[in-house]
Structure formats: structure tokens, C-alpha cells
Assembly symmetry: C2
Homo-oligomer: 164 residues x 2
DNA sequence: TATTGTTATACTCTATAACTATA
DNA sequence: TATAGTTATAGAGTATAACAATA
């Protein structure tokens, strides 16, 4: 016997939770945003797992691979992570042989992050995996909606630290 | 002297980070989603702070106030939190005098969460505060875009545990 | 035998302050 | 005096397993 006694609350396929969607919370944009992000995040992390990466380390690697030669401080500001978190993030990448710290020319305090050859290679595959995951994650939206969504999210993100 | 030596990377108003937006990462929907969510989340938490609430406890309180009489298991499923996390969440609300555990009629294993009078009162004010914060947070979008965004996020969230 | 709520534990994440070396 | 990176530490958040009461 399962869930036959209190039929009104628990006889749905999803465990009887659907009725909770009909609340202020289930109709709140911020809540839906958090939920969508959680789904997207765990999909991305799952896709990156085979490469020993997470979204954090992947982001750093991605920026490094583009040849932007970011300083740790820039990564801290851009990714909104504490400088100390960047340290361990780059330690990870260095220990995995994917990136290195290089001293900046003009300022001996500054480190710049550069990818190794293996870093570039791993990144190419990891990127494919995340893009595949992202396609699946946003497959419920058509191309125009996906573009709209991206534009809106970009607008919202821009409020904080303006791109361009 | 500040940031005049390596002018190409650090002479912008935002700390020179804007150049990092022109990367794969800065153009990634999942990344923008995470950023937008972080902004929305911290705005909501800031708005709730005066009431001794966070988004988590606020969500539980909101559901309770609607009279849905959710079980802890339902809250766990709906909010995608471990049952043990629900325990401490409700402990918080109970200690603050905002909600109580009530035994379910048909199943003596089950607790149901109900608001206190003070819980209802606090929620009304907290709700106003979060709505104000949400309005500010999404003010960069016009009404139609906000509606579109909400609909899209709802679609994405629905993939996981379907509402309705 | 399965489920609800609970406790305990460990692990990750996050935030903070203090330290060094450079500027 | 201020900044880049580092270290250490404590707090919050998360995941897991084991347990008692009940079904």
C-alpha cells in the first residue's frame, strides 16, 4: 500500500507535490529563476564531471584558454568569488596540469593565468559537453525564446557590473 | 598612482573586468542565468533580513500561510531540500514563533506545518519587502519582458517536477 | 518492508581576517 | 598607504547514513 490513505495530497506521480506549485512561491519569478538555475547548474556539473571539472574551474579554464591572460584579481571580480577562492581554484587547475600561473611583466605582485596544451585540449571536449548539456536543458524553448531569454538575463546581469 | 602601469587591463571603472565579458563564459546562457539568480537571491535575502528570514525560511512560511498544510516530506520534495534540512528550517520558524508542527490526522508519522498568528503578520510584511526587492531587481525589463521571462523560467522549471 | 521525521557526521562552499611581497 | 596573492579559520550550506516511530 502506498499513498492511498490521504489521496488528495500524495497520489500524484511526482509525490503529491504539484499542489504546492499553486502558491505565491510557485508563482514567484525569483523562485522560478532559482529553480531553473539549479537545474542548469547541476546539468553543467554533471557534464563536466568526466573531465574533473566543475562550473567554477571550467569558467576559469575557459577564460584562460581564450588567451585573455586574466589576473587572479580580475577573475575574482568577474566571477564574484573571493580572492582566496580563486587561489584554490587555480591550484586545482595547476595540479591537474591544465593551467599555470605566470608572473605579470609590469607588476611582480600579479599572477596571470595561462592554459597548458592539455588544458586547451581538455577544454575543447569539456566545452562540447557543456554545450550539449545546455542544449538539452533549454530544449523546451524554441530558438527565438532562447535568444530572448539570453538577452534578458544579460540585461539583468549588466545591472551589477556592466559588460562592454 | 593607481592602475596606470598596465593600462589595458585595469583602467576601467569596474576594475578592468569588462574585457572578461567578451569570452565564451560571458556569453553563456547558463552563466548569465547563474549571475542573474545570484543578484536576485541576494536582493531577496537582504530584503528579508529585517524579519529574521531568508529565502528558504520565507518559502516555507509562505506555503504554510496559504493554509496548504504541507507535510515536511512535501516541502522537501517541492523545495528540493533534504528532509533533514527541512527539520532545521522548521525548527527556526518554530523558535521564532512563526509556525508550528501539527500532527496529521490520518498518519501519526506525519507533521504538517501551520503558521501562527504572528507568522501570518510577519509574512505579510516580508512579502511586501520581497516584492519590492523583486520589482527593483527586474526593473530593467518592461512588463511584457518580465511576463515572458517568468513564463520561460516556468517552462524550464516544469521539466523537472511538473506543475499542475 | 517501506515511509516520516530526526540525529549525527562529513564535506563543500562562503566569508573574514591576517599575513607577505610588492607598488 | 594601498594592492595582489596567500593562508587560516569559522560559518553556512549540502549530502549521506543510521535510527525510532508508524504504516
Amino acid at each position: 500500500m502506498r499513498n492511498t490513505t490521504s489521496s488528495t495530497m500524495t497520489d500524484r506521480a511526482d509525490g503529491g507535490v504539484s499542489r504546492l506549485w499553486n502558491t505565491v512561491v510557485g508563482n514567484d519569478t525569483a523562485f522560478l529563476l532559482a529553480r531553473a538555475n539549479a537545474l542548469s547548474l547541476s546539468a553543467a556539473n554533471a557534464a563536466l564531471e568526466p573531465y574533473g571539472l566543475k562550473v567554477r574551474s571550467y569558467s576559469v579554464l575557459a577564460i584562460a584558454v581564450e588567451g585573455v591572460r586574466p589576473t587572479q584579481r580580475e577573475l575574482s571580480d568577474f566571477l564574484r568569488l573571493d580572492p582566496s577562492q580563486i587561489v584554490s581554484l587555480i591550484d586545482e587547475l595547476e595540479n591537474a596540469g591544465l593551467a599555470t600561473r605566470e608572473p605579470a611583466q609590469n607588476d611582480r605582485r600579479v599572477n596571470v593565468v595561462a592554459p597548458t596544451e592539455q588544458g586547451r585540449k581538455v577544454f575543447r571536449h569539456a566545452r562540447e559537453a557543456t554545450q550539449r548539456a545546455e542544449r538539452e536543458c533549454f530544449a523546451a524553448l524554441d530558438a527565438r525564446d532562447r535568444a530572448r531569454l539570453k538577452a534578458m538575463l544579460s540585461t539583468l546581469s549588466a545591472l551589477d557590473s556592466a559588460p562592454g
